[in-house]
Symmetry: C2
Subunit: 407 residues, 2 copies
């Protein structure tokens, strides 16, 4: 008999009918002999309704009070879910984050979980109950209600699984697993039965929206086996595993991409120690996040060219700041391009297999796609290309690495 | 500087605009130099909305889960109220019942407050905050969320006032105080500036809807000065006081009445010990509450006539039960009347003034109103009369005791 934590998001519990459907799924798991903890989000639309009320009073409401308000969203869902379970003769008890002592820091609206006391949940499980817990919320050391920020319910589920030493944490969502790439771009994209934790972390940070990155980090830290499944369809989903041997012999797990990137370049900067800090200092002071960074020595060997990417929303502001910096540093000129995307190949297989990068560049070159920037990590190669080549590039790489077929 | 607990019901906080109006009122009190605790109900309509969700799942949802669900109603209000106060530069903090340890028994949906730890609220007050507390809710000794049942917010406010040793507990409602009788029946009804606690208790139990009877009992037990005021109008309202000398020299405080009563009589019951129990036992076994009870020895002195009143909703069932009892006891017959009302004169002045009862009966006789039953207590005389005489009877008594004019 294993202990399973299941998490259902806002869409999965968006109506009475859907809550009843989830209850049936939960009961199925319990009837199969498992012990089940269910973590739920607010019903879809509810958080926005509550925000609407708050904004009727203040454009920027107090973060503490906003948390008191928003936490009611999941509290409604846990009660209804417990009722739906009891209605089909599945004994259940609901708990708020505060009731099961989901301890967080005091950063209201974006708190981080520091500790969960699983004792009460464990006692209920021992008594044969399904335990329904409100995701997204906790309490700080003073007993104030906190929330983890949007999407935080994934993290709640993983943290609960870690505290209970659950055998598996199942995240139910509107997709049926992690794919080799976005099926809307490459219809031949294939669901991965397994993916390593590190690969998933890269995929998440590269824009794959399947799992919240913080939840993946948390799972990694506490070694919680995670599985992504569909709320609406049957299937095994994708297991995020820590056993690399377990993963099929593919070199590449998938292709992630980030739209909405922009690229800035400062050319002919006199090369001197500390120049990178002088260029990026004002950018980070303006709270603009920088993603890729590439620095080259220019042909004359006395100046340097410096390129970096930011989110497209920050482009105009970053360009302005960079132009000011260029004057200060007597740089030759500043270029910008806000019509670029980042495409990344992710796979632990890169570690042991040479030649992945050249095969990637070759595949793109064959389609006449110019690579603007390159950045690599141990299990990832990212390239920046023109926005118009996004679909073509993703499909070319998917083909080149034969991702439509299992390793 | 006094400490005041103010309670605002669902209608008073029924919209963002009304919440803002209440916030302005609270700030006024604070600006006048008082320390203020605000106890609020769910926004009007919210409890019904939540019940609707629950009933979409189960016709009789689990009481425990229903409490988890309903408690969100006040939690929304406290957050919005605290925001509305902060928006007008009045520092405020909100708390759920659980957060300020409103301890109750475990009778879900109708729990009773056993204890409140005022420490946290006191600390915030000391720090210059207005404290906003969710009414209607608490936690039991196991940390389960409980609710006090509809109208329980009055009790929450009184209990909070008792725990904090507040100088006054102000209940804001949609009427501007306690009246000598219902102004819809007697337009000359007068607002009482003061009323004793005992009188208020009788008025409440006799159907005056101004205050929840449990709240009045609580106030009596802990000697909390209560004041009833209007949320929507200025005015001093009515102070419920423990000082009888304080109250104006009127003999009578007011006239209460209860519609929806029904009367049952069993005639010619052979008189023997335990007959009352034999008659009322089956009634109370069926969870029917009996109000007035009158027993007479019949003219033949060997049998007894027994009359009692119940709520009109319980009439049909009570009649059925009584007919069965009549057979068992070989009683002569059973009569019933479901078109009667109870009218009561209430006043501590009765204790020291003789002749009140006869004046009451005389006033009713003068209008040709037949009295069907009489029952008295130390500070109350109740009569049962035909329903059709309700308005006439109330007005006749109001005149007879000159209630339109202060004692």
């Amino acid at each position: 008999m294993s202990l399973i934590v299941q998490k259902y998001g806002g869409t999965s519990v968006g109506s009475i009918e859907r809550i009843q459907a989830v209850a049936a799924k939960v009961k199925q798991t319990r009837d199969a002999g498992h012990r089940v903890v269910v973590v739920v989000s607010a019903m879809s639309g509810e958080t926005d309704r509550l925000l609407g009320l708050a904004h009727g009073i203040q454009t920027r409401p107090s973060p503490r009070e906003l948390d008191v308000l928003l936490a009611t969203g999941e509290q409604v869902t846990i009660a209804l879910m417990a009722m739906a379970l009891e209605a089909i003769d599945c004994p259940a008890r609901s708990y708020t984050g505060a009731q099961v002592r989901v301890r967080t820091d005091s950063a209201h609206n974006k708190a981080r979980i520091t500790n969960i006391d699983g004792g009460r949940v464990q006692a209920d499980l021992d008594a044969g109950q399904v335990v329904v817990v409100a995701g997204f919320q906790g309490i700080d050391e003073h007993g104030n209600i906190t929330t983890l920020g949007r999407g935080g319910s994934d993290t709640s589920a993983v943290a609960m699984a870690a505290a209970l030493k659950a055998d598996e944490c199942q995240i139910y969502t509107d997709v049926d697993g992690v794919y080799t790439t976005d099926p809307r771009i490459e219809p031949k994209a294939r669901r991965l039965p397994r993916i390593t934790f590190e690969e998933m972390l890269e995929m998440a940070s590269l824009g794959s929206k399947v799992l919240q990155i913080r939840a993946v980090e948390f799972a990694g830290k506490y070694r919680v086996p995670l599985r992504v499944l569909s709320s609406f369809a049957e299937g095994e989903g994708t297991l995020i595993t820590f056993e690399e041997d377990d993963v099929e012999e593919a070199k590449i797990a998938g292709i992630a991409f980030a739209k909405d990137e922009a690229k800035l370049t400062i050319l002919g900067v006199p090369d001197q120690p500390g120049v990178a800090h002088k260029i990026l200092g004002p950018i980070s002071d303006a709270n603009i996040e920088v993603d890729m960074i590439v620095q080259n020595i220019a042909a004359d060997a006395k100046t340097t060219d410096f390129t970096f990417t930011v989110h497209r929303n920050d482009y105009a502001r970053a360009l302005e700041l960079l132009q000011a910096t260029a004057q200060t540093l007597s740089a030759r000129e500043v270029h910008g391009d806000e019509r670029i995307v980042k495409v990344s190949l992710v796979g632990v297989g890169m570690r042991s297999h040479a030649g992945i990068a050249s095969r990637m560049f070759e595949a793109l070159a064959r389609e006449g796609i110019n690579i603007r920037m390159i950045s690599t990590s141990e299990i990832k190669i990212s390239v920046v290309i023109d926005e118009k080549y996004l679909e073509l590039g993703v499909r070319a790489l998917h083909d080149a690495f034969d991702l439509a077929h299992a390793g």
